[in-house]
Every structure is written in C-alpha cells, then in structure tokens.
C-alpha cells in the first residue's frame, strides 16, 4: 500500500514486475535501483541509460495511447503529474492497472520518489542505498565548495532567438547553484520566466549557464552567447565563464543530479584552479 505524490492510495498485492514509466527521471531511478529489467514500456523521451531505448516507447500525456498500454499488460504505471491526464488514469484503473504519480520539484522530492518507486517494485533496500549515495554525493561537493563563492549566476533555458527564458528560484538548477555557492540573479522569479535582455546586462552575472542543446549546426550555444551584441561587458562573458550544462542531467528529477553538480563544480572550480596553475 503506497501513497503517491497526489495523496492517492495505491494498493499493490505484490511488488510490481511489469512496469511502464513515462518520465525519464523515473526510468533512470528504476535502472539505478537495478529494476531496469522490469521496465516493459517507457515514455518517449526516456533516453538514459542506453538500454532503455530498446524498451517499447509509449506515448504519454494527453496523447497516451491507452490501447497500447493495456496491450502491454503492465502491473504498474509510473507517471508524473504532467505526463498523464485524470481521464487516462481513471480509464486505467477501470482496466485494472494501478498507477503511481510522482512529482518531484526539488531534491528532497527526488528522494521521496526513489523511496516510492523502490517500495513499488520491491527494492526498498536499494532505494535507501541510492538515497544515501546521492546525499553523500551532494555533501561531498558542498564540503569541497566550503565557504567559497563564485558570485552570481544566470541560468538560461531558451536562447535569445526565441525570447530569453531564465530559470529562477525553485528549480533543480537553482538548488544546485546554491550548493555551489552561486547566487541566482533571478532567484525571486519562478522556475521559468521570460526575462529581458536588459536585465541580464544590468545584473551582470559572474557565470552564465545555458541548457540549450547543441544539435551540430551553426555556432555552439556558448559561442552564440559570447557573440551577443551588447553583452561584451558582462563579467561572465569577459571572463569566459559560460557553461553549457547537460539539459537532461540538470533538469530531470533523478539520480544523475549528482553528476550534474559534479560537472558544474568541475567547470567552476577545477578549471579555475587549472587556469591559475597555468
């Protein structure tokens, strides 16, 4: 008997053996718990680890293909709030397929999700270990950072061309930034906010992080940011402190958040050290 993120009580007679997980984060948790073999269906954006790609993809969200889901005969569906509709969950219930809803908004939430998923597939111990590992990972970085501070940071989630969108407080990025001793210049805004270019110039951040993916055409996101007119005098540009974060690791509520923070830490402090050494 489990209580999911929406307060729904879900009763499983036995640990789930055939699982469909719609969100990439949940897939990654399953694999991290060593329950990857129980995954018989995945959301279409799940792409990590590699093995997941061989699992059948299921359309999620309002477009979830219920017929396909039922045909797969799962005994559990793990969805997040944004990947399902009430109607589809109800229809699944009627067809005798229970579903769990996860909705992690912060690192604490990720722990909870791991706990929940672990319980659902009978991997309670592995879950506890995974959580401990993650906590240890974060603590290690926090310790390394110590009292150091790198100043201010601006997280860019959509490049100028489509309107400048920043990640504010309440996002994983923000949380990770805080751990690394960075202050988000748009901390007072929501997780997504379209901001004015003027503001970025005026806030003059020390670091710029972009999550734009590079698809192999034109300049890389970093080059593009460095070449923006009027941005030349921003400290981050002057010092070349522009970081292209891996969008998947830094935005998904999963175990790889630890990797994200480590990568970012390396960019900030290790390269710094290397520069100084050189």
């Amino acid at each position: 008997k489990l209580t999911d993120f929406e307060g729904r009580e879900v009763t499983l007679s036995k640990p789930a053996e055939r699982i469909i997980a719609l969100m990439p984060g949940d897939c990654e948790i399953l694999y991290a718990l060593g329950a990857g073999d129980k995954l018989i269906g995945r959301g279409e954006y799940c792409n990590y680890p590699e093995e997941v790609l061989s699992v059948e993809a299921v359309k999620s969200g309002a477009e979830m293909n219920l017929e396909q889901v039922i045909e797969l005969k799962p005994d559990l569906i793990i969805a997040t709030k944004m990947a399902h509709t009430k109607e589809s969950i109800e229809a699944l219930d009627k067809a005798g397929i229970p579903s769990l809803v996860t909705d992690a908004q912060n690192i604490e939430g990720v722990y909870k999700a791991i706990d929940l998923i672990g319980a659902a597939c009978g991997k309670n111990e592995e879950a506890a270990k995974l959580i401990d590992d993650m906590k240890a990972g974060f603590e290690e970085v926090v310790k390394k950072v110590g009292e150091k501070s790198f100043g201010t940071v601006y997280f860019e989630v959509s490049p100028l061309q489509y309107g400048l969108w920043a990640s504010g407080g309440g996002s994983f990025m923000d949380e990770i930034g805080n751990m690394l001793g960075l202050e988000n210049v748009f901390a007072s805004e929501g997780a997504w906010a379209q901001v004015s270019e003027e503001q970025v110039i005026a806030k003059n951040p020390d670091v710029i992080v972009t999550t734009t993916m590079y698809f192999g055409e034109g300049p890389t996101p970093i080059e593009e940011i460095l070449s923006r007119k009027g941005w030349e005098n921003i400290k981050a540009i002057e010092n070349g402190d522009v970081y292209n974060a891996d969008n998947d690791t830094i935005t998904r509520p999963g175990p790889r958040l630890v990797d994200a923070i480590n990568d970012f830490y390396n960019f900030l402090y290790e390269e710094e050290a290397a520069d100084k050494a050189a």
Binding site: E6, A62, L66, E67, I70, M82, W192
Partner: protein, 343 residues
C-alpha cells in the same frame, strides 16, 4: 410542393446507416488489432448484459468504445454549432468559437490543468467541470458586454465582442502556459485537442447536451432561414429577433463548451463541415442542420480513426488530422460544386 422542408426520409435513413457503419468500423479498428470475431463477440456480450473479460474486452470496453462514442457527438456538436453561428450572424468566417465560449472553456481547462485540479468525488474530472463553468461565464460576459455596448445585439457587435473576448482568454492561456514551467507539455497537448481517455460519463454528458441544445437549434431552423433575409425582414414575418439570438447563442455555447471540455480545442470541423453541407445539401437550415449532425459525426469518427491508427502506436493529435484531411476534401468538394454550377 412538399409539406416537409427538411431532408427526405430516404436521406435520413441513408445518413443514419452511414453513421452506424462508420461507428462499427471505428470500433473494430484501432492501434491494437482486435480480431473481428472478438469484436463482435464482445459487443454482443455487452448488448446481452454479460460482462466480457480479457485484454481485448478491457481495451474495447474501457478505451475504445467510450472514445468512439464521445467522438461522434463532439463532431456533431461542433458542426451543428458552426452551422447555426454562420446562419445567425451571416458570416462565412464564423463558427462556434466566434462567440468566445470555446476559448473560455479552454481557459477553464488550462487553469484546471495548471493548478492540477483533481476533484475525486466528481463524476467528471477537474478539467471538464472547469471548462464547462468557464464557458458559461464567458457566454455571460460576452453577451452582457455586447448588450451593454449595443442594446440591439447587432451582429457586428456580437462578432467583435466574441472575437475580442476569445483573444482575451487566449492571451490568458498563453500567460498561464508561459508560467506553467514543467506542465507546459501537457497543456500544449491538451490545446491540440484529444479525445483519448474519454469515459462513459463524458459520453453521457455529450449526448445529453447534444440532445437538448441540438433540439433547440433544430427547432430554430425556420428562424435561421428567416435571418438569411436580414434581421428586419425576419422581424416583419414575426420572428422575435432578440429572443431567437439568445436561444441560438446559448445553445451554441453549450455545445461548444461541453465539446471543448471533453475533447479540447478541435478547430476546423465547425467551420468546414457546415460549408461542405451547404454545398452538398443546400442552404435551407431544415436540411443544413440535420445534415451537419450526421456529416459532422461521420467526419470526426474517421478523423479520429486515422489519428489513432495511422502511425500507431503513436497517436496524432486529432486537430491535426482534421485540418489535413478536412482541408483537402473541402477543396475538392468546393471545386466540384463550382464546376457543377457552371459559373
């Protein structure tokens, strides 16, 4: 001269027959192939009151049947509403959404989605209830706005107020989407229109609305005919212009509000099906309105079938399929008719 002005009995029978055939085709096909024998077996069991079981039965009863049964009234409702709107405001660009209730309903649904409203004890889930409530509020706002600026409720005023209101609400929707962060995807998909996950409650709701509001419109066919002579002429022959307008606009809003709440914003149907029916069955509303019900239902059934099966297991948004196929078939009909008319 005939006493009846509507479609001939023969046409009624043919069209009903086509609807039933389409219904059956759409039930037996889907992204999971179910053998014809099983389909018939399960349907018979259902009709006989038995409870069939098994995976095929699960898919058929809990997924496919409610969906197909919702698609049909949604298609009928959108087309009917479009025909009535085009008739009453005499504008070929009008459809059910001109009045603003469509985007009002969408706003309600988007708010429900973004707040994650979940009303467990309600027979209809959060989005549906919110959409209906909002479509109502929209109707009231648009009508009272129109009435305030123009006591005569002239067409121009209704059109402009409706369009303005729907832009207003659409901008609200954009705003919510802009700030919705992680939920952006589900909202985007919802706005594209989908009938996946419809349940029997939805079907019931749709049918009741279609019967009530549809009858109100059907009974206004003479008034709609009268309007095509102009509003003053309509008044001269005894039509209570304002009352008729209110009845028709309210019925249209009902139809649209409920359809949108269940199926999302499915564009195009309400605009094109009435035009096509006008080309095929003539502009007399006694013929136009019933033919829109049939043709709308058939059209959306097949569009949904294509959406479900074309690139299975992926589902296409129904709005996309509708516009695609609808556009092509409409151009063909239009071309044929014009050639036929010889002008």
């Amino acid at each position: 001269m005939d006493i009846k002005e509507g479609l001939s009995l023969k046409k009624h029978i043919i069209l009903i027959f086509v609807v039933l055939i389409s219904l059956f085709i759409c039930i037996s096909l889907g992204s999971v192939p179910i053998p014809f024998k099983d389909t018939v077996g399960i349907l018979c069991d259902l009709l006989l009151g038995k409870k069939p079981s098994g995976m095929y039965a699960d898919i058929l009863i809990h997924v496919r049947l409610p969906r197909v049964l919702s698609v049909m009234p949604v298609g009928a409702a959108l087309s009917l509403a479009g025909a009535a709107m085009q008739g009453i405001i005499r504008n070929p660009l009008a459809d059910g959404s001109t009045l603003g209730t469509s985007s009002g309903a969408a706003l309600g649904a988007v708010i429900a989605l973004s707040l994650g409203v979940w009303l467990p004890s309600f027979p209809f889930a959060g989005t549906v209830v919110f959409a209906i409530i909002f479509s109502f509020i929209s109707l009231i706002i648009v009508m009272s706005l129109a009435y305030t600026v123009d006591k005569l409720l002239s067409n121009n005023t209704i059109i402009l107020m409706g369009v303005i209101f729907s832009m207003f609400t659409s901008s609200f929707i954009s705003l919510i989407m802009a700030f919705s962060g992680e939920r952006l995807r589900s909202i985007t998909f919802w706005t594209m229109g989908s009938l996946a996950g419809s349940n029997y409650n939805n079907v019931l709701l749709l049918l009741i609305t279609l019967i009530i509001a549809g009858s109100a419109l059907m009974l206004s066919a003479r008034e709609l005919n009268a309007f095509s002579l102009g509003e003053d002429e309509a008044m001269h022959i005894g039509v209570d212009v304002k009352k008729t307008k209110v009845i028709i606009l309210v019925s249209v809003s009902f139809l649209i509000g409920v359809s949108v709440s269940v199926g999302g914003s499915i564009g195009f149907v309400g605009l094109i099906v009435p035009h096509a029916c006008r080309l095929l069955f003539g502009g007399n509303h006694f013929k136009l309105l019933p033919s829109c019900v049939y043709v709308g239902a058939i059209f959306l059934l097949f569009m949904d079938l294509i959406a479900r099966t074309l690139v299975s297991p992926v589902e296409l948004p129904i709005g996309v399929v509708t516009s695609f196929i609808g556009a092509i078939s409409f151009v063909i009909i239009y071309y044929r008719r014009r050639k036929h008319a010889g002008t």
